[in-house]
C-alpha cells in the first residue's frame, strides 16, 4: 500500500501530462462544465420565481411568469448545449489519452528485453494494456464529467444558500457531510468482506482453471465426483462471502439517502417557519418560491455530494490502473543500439569467447564457454533439459546479453552492431512454433515480404508444406487464427520451416526444428534441409541424435558447460557422455 501511495503524485502528474496534450479540449471541458453548472443552478431559482408569481385565486402574475419562462428556456438551452459540448470534450480527452497510453505501452513492448517477456506472465502484461487502460479510461471520463461539475455545483449551491438564507444554508452545509462519514464508516467495515470475497473467488478460479484445463484427464480417471465436491465446498464459501460483501456494501445508498431525507425535512421545517414568520433576509421576505429553491438546492447539493465519494473511489482505482500501465512503460528497455552500425550481409564466422551468462545471478549457468564456428559449418548441440542449449541460442541471437566474454560474428562483437541487422542474418526455427493471425501467405512471407508467389510455392514444396496448404480451404489465402488455430503442431512447424527456406539468411538456428514432425516427413525434407544448410553456418539443437550425426562439430552440454566437443565418430570412440547418450537411444 505504501509503495502505491508514494507513487501517487507522480502518477497524477504523468496523467496530467498526457491530458495536457489536448489543451483545447481541456479548456473546452472546463469552460462548458462551468457554464453547465451555472445554467443548471439558475433553473431552480427561476422556477422558484415562477412559483412566487402564483399566489392564489385571481393573484397570478402572468406577465412575470412569461418573462421567467423565457429566461428559463434560455438557461435550459444553454445548460443542455454546454453539457453536450463538455461531454464531447471529455470523451475526446479520455479516448485520446487512452489511445496514447496504449500506443506508448505497445511501443514499449517491442523494446523490452526478452528477459522481461520470458519472466512475466503474458496475461498480466496484456491485461495492463487492455483491461487496465479500459478502466483508466472509464475512470478518467467519469472524473472529468462528474468531479469538476460536482465540485462547482457544491460551491455554487453553498454560495447561493448562504446569500439567500444563511441560517438554512449553514445547517445544510454542516449536516450533509454526515452522509460522507456514514459512507466511509460502511466502506471501512465492509472492506474485510471484499477481501474475503476476492480471496475465495481467486481460490475458485484457480481450482476451476486446473479442473477445466485437465478435464480430459479428469474424465479418463473418473475423478469428476471428487472435483465436484471440492468445487461445491469452495462455491459455498464464495456464496457466503459474496452475500456479505454485496449486502453490507449496499447499505451505503440507503443510509446516505436517509440523511439526505432528514436534511430535506429540516430545510422544509425551517424554511416554512421562516416564510410563516415573514423573516426578512437580505432585504426581502422569504417566500414560498424561496423555499422551493431551497428544497431543489438541497436535492441538487446532496446529489454530487453523495456521488463524489463514488467518483473518488473510481478515480483512485483508475489511478491504480494508470500506475500499472506506467510501470510497464517505465520498464528498463534493451540497451539502445541507435548509434551502432549496421552489420550488412554476414559471412558466417561465429566466435564465442569465454562467455559467462546466467538468468539470475544466484544460479550460475554458462561459465567460460568458448567455441568457434567457421563459415558453413554445422554445429550440433546435445544435452539434457536445462543444460543450456536454448540459452546458447538466446545469446547467439542476442535475445539476451552475455554477462562476461563476447559473442562475435565475422570478428565483430555483436554488441557493436544493431540487433536488427544481426538478427536479419539468422534464420530461426524453434520447437515452439509461432504463427500470427493472418493468411498462410503472410506467415510464410514474413522473412521476405517482397518475394514472388512462385518463390513462395517453391519453398513450400521443398518443406513439404505445399500439399497440405493446397488442401486447406483457400490454399495460401486461408486465414489462420491466433497461433495457427486448427493446424497440428507438425504442420505449424512445416510452415515455420518454409518461412526460413524462403528467407535464406547466411546463418541458421534450428532448435528442435523437426520435433513435432513425424520421422517419415522429416526424412523427406532432409534433402531440402541439407541444401539449405550448405554454405550456411548452422546451429542445431536436437533430441533425436539421428538428425545430427553429420554435423561438423557436436557440443555436448551439461550444466552450462561444454563437456565434450568433436565429431560423431570421434566422440563415440572417446566413450564419454556422448557415447552414453547415443547408446541409451539404441540399446
Amino acid at each position: 500500500m505504501n509503495g502505491v501511495n508514494v507513487k501517487k503524485p507522480r502518477t497524477l502528474r504523468r496523467v496530467l501530462r498526457y491530458v495536457g496534450k489536448y489543451p483545447i479540449s481541456l479548456i473546452g471541458s472546463l469552460l462548458f462544465s462551468l457554464l453547465t453548472v451555472a445554467a443548471t443552478l439558475c433553473v431552480p431559482v427561476l422556477f422558484g420565481d415562477a412559483i412566487d408569481c402564483i399566489i392564489g385565486k385571481g393573484n397570478v402574475d402572468f406577465d412575470g411568469l412569461i418573462a421567467v419562462f423565457i429566461k428559463t428556456a434560455v438557461a435550459v438551452g444553454v445548460a443542455a448545449l454546454s453539457q453536450w459540448l463538455a461531454s464531447l470534450c471529455n470523451n475526446r480527452i479520455s479516448c485520446n489519452v487512452v489511445r496514447d497510453l496504449r500506443k506508448d505501452a505497445f511501443a514499449k513492448i517491442r523494446k523490452l528485453p526478452l528477459q522481461y517477456v520470458d519472466t512475466h506472465a503474458h496475461g498480466d502484461t496484456v491485461s495492463r494494456v487492455i483491461a487496465d487502460a479500459e478502466q483508466f479510461s472509464d475512470g478518467l471520463l467519469m472524473g472529468f464529467t462528474q468531479f469538476f461539475t460536482g465540485i462547482t455545483t457544491i460551491f455554487g449551491t453553498i454560495g447561493f444558500m448562504l446569500i439567500t438564507n444563511w441560517k438554512i444554508g449553514l445547517i445544510v452545509i454542516f449536516l450533509t457531510p454526515l452522509s460522507i462519514l456514514v459512507a466511509r464508516f460502511v466502506a471501512t467495515h465492509t472492506h474485510k468482506f471484499f477481501v474475503e470475497q476476492a480471496k475465495t473467488r481467486g481460490e475458485q478460479t484457480a481450482f476451476t482453471e486446473e479442473a477445466i484445463g485437465g478435464l480430459k484427464t479428469t474424465q479418463a480417471f473418473a475423478h469428476e465426483d471428487e472435483n465436484e465436491q471440492k468445487f461445491n465446498e469452495i462455491n459455498g464459501r464464495l456464496e457466503k462471502a459474496a452475500m456479505n460483501a454485496t449486502f453490507y456494501s449496499s447499505l451505503v445508498n440507503p443510509s446516505t439517502r436517509f440523511i439526505n431525507n432528514i436534511v430535506y425535512a429540516i430545510v422544509a421545517l425551517i424554511g416554512a417557519l421562516d416564510v410563516a414568520s415573514g423573516t426578512v433576509i437580505a432585504g426581502a421576505a422569504f417566500t414560498v418560491g424561496g423555499l422551493t429553491k431551497f428544497l431543489s438546492y438541497a436535492n441538487q447539493y446532496t446529489k454530487p455530494f453523495n456521488e463524489i465519494s463514488g467518483v473518488i473511489t473510481e478515480l483512485k482505482s483508475a489511478f491504480a490502473c494508470a500506475a500499472r500501465i506506467f510501470q510497464l512503460i517505465d520498464e528498463k528497455e534493451e540497451v539502445s543500439d541507435k548509434d551502432k552500425e549496421e552489420m550488412g550481409e554476414a559471412e558466417g564466422y561465429i566466435d564465442l569467447e569465454n562467455v559467462y551468462f546466467s538468468y539470475v545471478p544466484e544460479k550460475k549457468l554458462i561459465e567460460g564457454l568458448s567455441l568457434k564456428a567457421n563459415k558453413g559449418q554445422r554445429i550440433a548441440i546435445v544435452g539434457r533439459t536445462g543444460s543450456g542449449k536454448t540459452t546458447l541460442i538466446n545469446l547467439l541471437m542476442r535475445f539476451y546479453d552475455v554477462t562476461g566474454g563476447a559473442v562475435k560474428v565475422d570478428e565483430r562483437d555483436i554488441r557493436t552492431v544493431t540487433r536488427r541487422s544481426l538478427r536479419g542474418n539468422y534464420g530461426m526455427v524453434l520447437q515452439e512454433t509461432w504463427l500470427k493471425s493472418g493468411t498462410v501467405r503472410e506467415n510464410i512471407k514474413m522473412g521476405k515480404p517482397d518475394c514472388s508467389d512462385e518463390e513462395m510455392i517453391a519453398a513450400a514444396k521443398a518443406a513439404h508444406a505445399h500439399s497440405f496448404i493446397k488442401r486447406m480451404e483457400k490454399g495460401y489465402d486461408t486465414l489462420l487464427s491466433e497461433d495457427g488455430g486448427s493446424l497440428s503442431e507438425g504442420q505449424k512447424q512445416l510452415l515455420c520451416i518454409t518461412r526460413v527456406m524462403l528467407a535464406l539468411p547466411p546463418m541458421l538456428i534450428l532448435d528442435e526444428a523437426t520435433s513435432s514432425i513425424d520421422t517419415r516427413t522429416e526424412r523427406k525434407i532432409s534433402d531440402a534441409f541439407d541444401k539449405l544448410m550448405k554454405g550456411r553456418t548452422t546451429f542445431i539443437v536436437a533430441h533425436r541424435l539421428s538428425t545430427i550425426v553429420n554435423a561438423d562439430c557436436i557440443l555436448v552440454m551439461e550444466n552450462g558447460h561444454v563437456v565434450e566437443q568433436g565429431t560423431h565418430s570421434g566422440l563415440l570412440q572417446a566413450g564419454g557422455a556422448y557415447a552414453e547418450l547415443y547408446n541409451k537411444q539404441f540399446s
Binding site: 402564483i54 445548460a79 489511445r99 475458485q204 480430459k216 454485496t246 538478427r423 503442431e489
Partner: protein, 581 residues
C-alpha cells in the same frame, strides 16, 4: 435465456420481496412532494398581502416529522430490499456456478475440443459474476424506476387531474429518447468491443511471438498494425460516445419544458381558483423526481444489458447436451477378442475429412499393440475410441465383448482403462494425491511399485517422496518427470487396458525401453502409440496408420516384408538394415 429463470425458483420469496420492499420505499418517496405541498397550503394558510397570519406552526412541525418518519421507513424498507436482492443474486449465481461446473465436467471430449478451455473458464467466472451483479441491481432498481416514473404520474393525477396530459406526453417523449439512443448505441458498443479484441490480439501476439517478431525484424510492421487498430478503436469509441452523450442534455430539456408547461397550466387554474400554490409546487417536485430517476435508469440499462448478454452465454453452455451416445440394448458379442474395432470411421467435424476410415482389427487379452504412423494419421483418435471418449461415425468398438456405446459398459470402461495422455497433466496438491486419482484406496506400497515401474522413484526420493508438493500444472517438474508421474498414475489402478499415447516422448530411449519391459511383465492389454519404431517393434501386433487408414497390421517382421509405409518409418529412424543410426 428462459432456462435461467429456473434458478430463481429456489429464491422465489427473495426475488419477490426484494422488489416489493423497494416499491414500498419508492412509495414513501412519492409522498414527499405531497407533504411539502400540504405544508405550503395548509401549514402556511392563505396569504394576506404577502404575509401568512394564519400559519399553523404545529402543523408544519408535524408534517416535517412525518417527512423524517418517511425517511426512516424508507431506510428500513430499502435495507430489507437490499438484503433480499443480495440473497437472491448470490444464491442464483452460486447455483449457476455449481450446475455449470457439473455440466462442463460431463461434456464429451468432442465438446471440450469445440468449446475450448478459455471459453469455459470465462463462462464460469466473469460471466457469472457479471450476471450476479446484474441480477442484484435489477432486483433493486429495475422495477423502482418505472414505478417512480408512473407513480409520479398517478400521484400527479390525484394532486391535479388536469396535469396528467403533460406527464403522459413527457414520459412518452422521454421513453422515445432513451430507447432511441439505446437502440443506436448498443450495436455500436458491440462493434467497438470487436475492435478492442483486435487490439488485444496484437498485444498478445507480440508477447507470445516476441522471439519470432524480433528474429524476422518485424517490429515496425507490428507497431504500424497496432497503431492502426488502436486508432480504429479510438474512432469508434468517440463516435458512440458522442451519440450517447446526447441522452442527458435531451432528457434535461424535455423535463424542464414539461415543468414550464405544468407551471403555466397550473397558474391558469390557480388564477381561476381550481388549484393551490402548494399543489403546483408538488407537481413541480414530482416532475423533478422523474428526471433524477431517468438518469439512474439510463445507467442501469447498460449494466443490465451487459448482464443479459452474459446470461445468454451461460444459458448456451447449460443448454449443451453432451454429445456422447449411450445405448441401452447392445448384444454381447462372442468373437472372443478382448478389444475389437469393426469397420470404424470417425470424423471430428461433419464437413472435414474423416480422422479414421474403415478401421478393423481385433486384439486378444494380454497382448501389446503398437500404433504407429505420421503426424495426423489418426493414432490418438484410434486409442481414444477404446474408452469411448469419442463417438464413432459408423462401425462399432467392442471391449470385452461389449459395445462401448452400451450404458452398462460406461463405468467399467472408466474404471478399467488406464490412459496416459500425450500431454502430461498433473494437478495441484501432492504427488500422493495425484497418484491416488488412479485408485483412491491404493496403499503406499502400491504407489511406490507403480513409481518404480514408471522410473519416477529416483527423483522423488531426492525430493520429499510421496509428499512432494505439485504446483499448478505440475510446473515444478520437468517434462520427462511429469510424463513418468502420469505413467505411474495410470499404473496405480492396475488397469485391464493400458493406453500409452505417445507418453514417453520426453524419455530417453533407454528409460523408454526399461519402462516397456516392465509393463510387458504385467500381462496387461497395452496400446502403445508412438512415432518411434523402437517403441513398438517388440509389440505382438503393430497397427500402421496413414491418413486415417490402416495400411498394415502385423508383427515387426511381417510389416517389414509387406508394409511400405512401415518400412519408410523404420528406415527414417534406423539406417538401412542395421540398428545403428
Amino acid at each position: 435465456m428462459k432456462k435461467l429463470f429456473v434458478y430463481f425458483k429456489n429464491y422465489k420469496l427473495q426475488s419477490v420481496l426484494g422488489p416489493f420492499f423497494k416499491l414500498l420505499e419508492a412509495l414513501f418517496e412519492l409522498f414527499v412532494p405531497i407533504v411539502v405541498g400540504l405544508i405550503v397550503d395548509k401549514g402556511l394558510g392563505a396569504p394576506v398581502n404577502g404575509a401568512y397570519p394564519n400559519a399553523d406552526t404545529g402543523y408544519i412541525v408535524k408534517m416535517c416529522l412525518l417527512l423524517v418518519g418517511f425517511g426512516l421507513f424508507g431506510l428500513v424498507f430499502s435495507v430489507t430490499a437490499q438484503y433480499f436482492a443480495a440473497r437472491a443474486a448470490t444464491g442464483v449465481a452460486a447455483d449457476m456456478r455449481k450446475d455449470l461446473f457439473k455440466k462442463l465436467q460431463a461434456l464429451s471430449y468432442k465438446d471440450i475440443d469445440t468449446l475450448g478451455t478459455a471459453t469455459m473458464l470465462t463462462r464460469m467466472t466473469s460471466d457469472v459474476d457479471r450476471f450476479q451483479s446484474g441480477v442484484n441491481l435489477a432486483l433493486r432498481l429495475f422495477l423502482r424506476s418505472p414505478f417512480i416514473v408512473f407513480g409520479a404520474m398517478i400521484t400527479a393525477y390525484f394532486v391535479d387531474p388536469a396535469s396528467i396530459g403533460v406527464f403522459a406526453i413527457a414520459i412518452a417523449a422521454l421513453a422515445v429518447v432513451v430507447f432511441a439512443v439505446m437502440f443506436i448505441c448498443m450495436p455500436l458498443y458491440k462493434k467497438t468491443q470487436g475492435k478492442l479484441d483486435k487490439v488485444l490480439l496484437s498485444t498478445r501476439e507480440n508477447l507470445t511471438g516476441a522471439r519470432v517478431v524480433r528474429a524476422f525484424c518485424l517490429e515496425d510492421e507490428e507497431k504500424e498494425l497496432f497503431d492502426k487498430r488502436n486508432e480504429e478503436l479510438n474512432k469508434g469509441r468517440k463516435f458512440v460516445g458522442a451519440i450517447a452523450a446526447i441522452t442527458n442534455p435531451l432528457t434535461y430539456v424535455l423535463v424542464n419544458f414539461a415543468i414550464i408547461a405544468l407551471i403555466y397550466s397550473g397558474a391558469i387554474r390557480v388564477d381561476i381558483g381550481n388549484l393551490s400554490q402548494g399543489s403546483v409546487l408538488a407537481l413541480y417536485n414530482l416532475m423533478s423526481q422523474i428526471l433524477i430517476e431517468l438518469i439512474k435508469l439510463a445507467n442501469l440499462i447498460v449494466t443490465v444489458t451487459k448482464a443479459a448478454a452474459c446470461g445468454g452465454r451461460i444459458a448456451a453452455v447449460l443448454d449443451m447436451q453432451p454429445s456422447l451416445t449411450v445405448e441401452d440394448d447392445c448384444q454381447k458379442e462372442t468373437t472372443g477378442a478382448f478389444v475389437r474395432f469393426d469397420n470404424v470411421t470417425m470424423r471430428y467435424n461433419d464437413e472435414g475429412e474423416p480422422a479414421l476410415s474403415n478401421v478393423s482389427f481385433a486384439v486378444n487379452k494380454g497382448e501389446t499393440v503398437g500404433v504407429i504412423g505420421g503426424t495426423g494419421s489418426g493414432k490418438t483418435t484410434l486409442v481414444n475410441l477404446i474408452p469411448h471418449f469419442y463417438d464413432v461415425e459408423t462401425g462399432d468398438v467392442f471391449v470385452d465383448g461389449y459395445n462401448v456405446r452400451e450404458k452398462g459398459a460406461q463405468s467399467y470402461l472408466r474404471e478399467s482403462v488406464g490412459v496416459v495422455p500425450q500431454k502430461a497433466v498433473l494437478f495441484k496438491g501432492t504427488v500422493r494425491e495425484n497418484l491416488l486419482w488412479g485408485k483412491a484406496d491404493a496403499t503406499d506400497e502400491a504407489l511406490w511399485t507403480a513409481l518404480k515401474m514408471a522410473r519416477a522413484d529416483e527423483f522423488l526420493l531426492e525430493k520429499q517422496g510421496l509428499e512432494t508438493p505439485v504446483e499448478q500444472g505440475g510446473k515444478n517438474f520437468s517434462g520427462d518427470q511429469k510424463q513418468r508421474l502420469t505413467i505411474a498414475r495410470a499404473l496405480v489402478r492396475k488397469p485391464e487396458i493400458l493406453i500409452l499415447d505417445d507418453s514417453s516422448s520426453a524419455l530417453d530411449y533407454a528409460t523408454d525401453a526399461e519402462l516397456r519391459k516392465g509393463i510387458r511383465a504385467l500381462n496387461t492389454t497395452t496400446f502403445i502409440v508412438s512415432q518411434r519404431a523402437s517403441s513398438v517393434r517388440d509389440a505382438d501386433k503393430i497397427i500402421v496408420l496413414d491418413d486415417g487408414k490402416t495400411v498394415g497390421i502385423g508383427t515387426h517382421n511381417e510389416l517389414m516384408q509387406t508394409c511400405e509405409v512401415y518400412r519408410e518409418i523404420y528406415f527414417s529412424q534406423y539406417e538401412d538394415g542395421g540398428e545403428t543410426v
